[in-house]
Amino acid sequence: MLVWIGGVRPGILAGLLVLAPAILGLFVFLIRTKWSRKGIVTASGWVLTLSALALFGLGAVRREAIPFTPAGPLGLSWDSVILVLDLALMALFGAIGVFLRKPAITALTLLQLGPILWIEFGPLHSAIGGPAMYVDWLTVIMVMIVSVIGSIVAVYGLPYMKEHEKHAGIADSASKRPRFFLTILVFLGAMNGLVLSDSLLWVFFFWEVTTLCSFLLIGHDGTPEAQANAFRALWMNMVGGVCFAAGMLVLAGVVGTVSIQGIVLAETAEPSGAPALLGFGLLCVAGFTKAAQMPFQSWLLGAMVAPTPVSALLHSSTMVKAGVYLVARLAPAFHNTAVSDVIAVAGGFTFASAALLAIGQSNAKRVLAYSTISNLGLIIACAGLNTPLSMAAAVMLIIFHAISKALLFMAAGVIEHGIWSRDIEDMQGLVSRMPLTTFTMVIGILSMLLPPFGVLIAKLAAIEASVRMPATLILLVAGSTLTVVFWTKWTGRLLTADPSVVFPKIEHLHSMYFVPLLLLTAGAVSFSAMVVPLLTELVAPAVAQYYRTVQTDATTIIQFDNVLGVPWALVFGVLTIAALLPLLYFRAPRTRRVGAYLCGEQVDDAPASTFRTAAEAAAPVTVRGHYFERVVGESLHTRWMTSVSLVALALLFGAAFVPR
């Protein structure tokens, strides 16, 4: 088996990972029956998952990075095919701008077109060349996340979109689901293309495809709000696209290549100073837009108008992860520079401030969105800290955040279709009404902030790595504490049990809801339980491999023995036993169920919280969450936070001129 995998041409796997979902997506679009859609989307999921596993096997067998250029179709080179597709994409963006009367979009398209044409047809053409794709462990990890989690979300989308359209009163004949799943599958293919590509020109093409797909998905429902938010996402990401194109042009001019590996190798061996750093700064701003870092956070907040599978995809495995991936991938090239330091502080700032704003939100999806922005800030901060340990933390966060956030959005979606509300206040007592979904949601939340779960362990690594940079350290400590507040408050609402329900009835879930939720819950727990081997066997080698240009001693670069030395299995065991023993001690027949203490004014002995009010009338107890809007409300803070982050962006370019 392994020998066979070792012989597989990487180009074929790249085809399966990038082109197959797009082609299968076309079939979903063209064959409009319920069964074909279900079958093809599920099949695409399997194709993606198995190809990702095969790529993992290929990496394990070959043991070293694999640069390659897939053979082109019909005797053409992929370079020229991608150029044509790129120009077609630009024409499409231009057309959107012209026909929908959005001059800004047209202008941004032209601004992107300039650098691309300059590189392709101008004097910098010699910068193109060499292998266009590159597979190392970081790529493998990203492809696994995109393909596995992306497929799970796509399958979950099948029943979700059906209920979604039913609720909106859309007839099957007018269903927009074929287009929806086409876009989702193209999106997954583009994400795989993005992480597999080494040529910045290719990365740029896939980058813009994800921009287009997210534009289509956010605007899917067609309401005025959805359209407005879709355009906001489009223009902000196109600003990022302009920065990307400009950065690529600068690097092509300064370093003489558009190959990421070539650039990183050249810049670590012999740094070329300010001009190259300007190029990296531009690419990082592009990463910031995609990763919805402040001041670009508003597009991701607006994106939640889209159906929940879209949010689950944008927030977990695709889109925003492209932004942090780009920054992390390039980080070795600007190792030990002021640019890197500014990135660390900017990321830390987004981490803390998004966590602060999340406290004031009662809309579940908005809390999730702020949490995503916050965690991406943490990943960016790790990339900016730019040490082997912080890089390992970044990769761990990318993995664990993808699992937990996909789980959280999918659970939130199931809850939304159970209670038809996104308000956390309406989720009060959900543990008594939808115990199964609540269980997955609570596991998802706890896995975002507490030990022994992976996100927290990565956060510890981030804090330990940030000690060399006090400003980032303070932001990370503040952000971590604020994070606890909003998650705990939300969990409290979910777990406020209904006193009249002693044995909650387990709700019936569609199998395509149940299986994805179960898979991701199991994933969040089991990956956390295996955090030590995951770090030492997969993440550390990945970091050692892509960071080798800075530091060569592969195995010893990640000094994290203290945390890894903790007997995590024992901790898991003790906590599990401690959680299970009370179920035995407080089992039903022995334990008297009582109502809450109400100063002796409780009605009867009934467990329901009802108390005697004026004239002996019975009134039910109402409790609600508190959101501290007057302290942490968005309207109080967004403006100054935007100003601070704009200053950070300006500093990013200023820092390019600071000598190392």
């Binding site: 606890v484 705990t488 049990a497 945390v563 906590l575 809450a596």
Partner: protein, 287 residues
């Protein structure tokens, strides 16, 4: 001594010490209020009595939360005496604190809900101070493990004096002492309904009280670390910090949550950051 034996001793000795100190606190507090106060061993009698109560609960979540709170407090003490990573220790103890809050939230009671809301804010108030203290320790020892402190040849207090203050503050907040007791008071006689603890009873409350015994030892251990080079000086520092919290408890009244968070994030964090800055400037931390 093997780790196993050390762990076993800590497992038994910590609650004995913690319970005894809380008994002392109750006596001292009573004297300050012109009362005789309960016997010194009253905290132990309380726990035993609570354990003997017939099981009673509002829901199944409470018991799980109380049990996890105790488990994490025990894990915290064990990790401390076995010289484990201090950051991991802090977050494991934070897991317990979150569980206590969730236990309070799980009951549809106006009192415990309010207590839990405020307990979240108490956490917000003390958590950064603890992390900063661990970071300051790291800057002195070069490691995050508790064992590295013992290997140091000079008392930490010389390099981090402000952390004696912040640590006393943390102890006061964590032990629910006035004026920081916004979510509930440490001693039941100080209020009619006990905030976050209101709905815990019988065995659940016994587990929580036990957890407090362990937690107190853990907090005192952190202060003791400031002067580890001499066993007695360390113990005196720890007891001094503890007595200070008791005195402050008796001469102040509860303040609002707004004041609590503002106070800790300005004065507490300010002192911690100032001390950290001094360490960064004098120790030349390698980049």
């Amino acid at each position: 001594m093997s780790d196993l034996a050390l762990g076993a001793i800590a497992l038994v000795a910590a609650p004995l010490l913690g319970g005894f100190l809380i008994g002392l606190d109750r006596r001292l507090t009573a004297r300050l209020q012109n009362r005789a106060g309960p016997p010194l061993l009253q905290p132990f009698y309380d726990v035993l009595k609570l354990m003997g109560k017939r099981p009673m609960a509002c829901n199944a979540i409470q018991g799980i939360c109380a049990s996890l709170y105790l488990a994490t407090s025990i894990l915290g003490v064990l990790m401390l005496v076995l010289g484990q990573d201090l950051l991991v220790l802090l977050f494991i103890v934070a897991l317990g604190a979150v569980m206590l809050i969730l236990g309070g939230f799980s009951v549809k009671s106006p009192y415990s809900q309010l207590g839990s809301q405020r307990e979240v804010l108490q956490m917000l108030a003390y958590e950064p101070l603890l992390v900063f203290m661990v970071v300051a320790t790291y800057l002195n020892t070069g490691s995050f493990s508790a064992s590295s402190i013992l290997a140091l040849d000079r008392p930490l207090l010389l390099a981090m004096p402000m952390f004696l203050v912040t640590q006393t503050l943390v102890m006061a907040i964590k032990m629910h002492k006035s004026p920081f007791d916004v979510s509930a008071s440490h001693h039941a006689h100080q209020e009619l309904v006990r905030g976050v603890y209101t709905e815990f009873s019988g065995m659940q409350l016994a587990l929580i009280e036990l957890a407090h015994f362990y937690e107190l030892v853990l907090l005192l251990g952190f202060v003791w670390f400031l002067w580890h080079t001499n066993w007695v000086v360390g113990a005196v520092l720890a007891l001094a910090a503890y007595t200070t919290t008791i005195l402050i408890d008796n001469v102040t009244a509860r303040m609002t949550w707004r004041w609590l968070v503002t106070f800790t994030w300005t004065w507490g964090v300010g002192l911690a950051v100032a001390n950290l800055a001094a360490i960064y400037l004098t120790l030349r931390v390698p980049r």
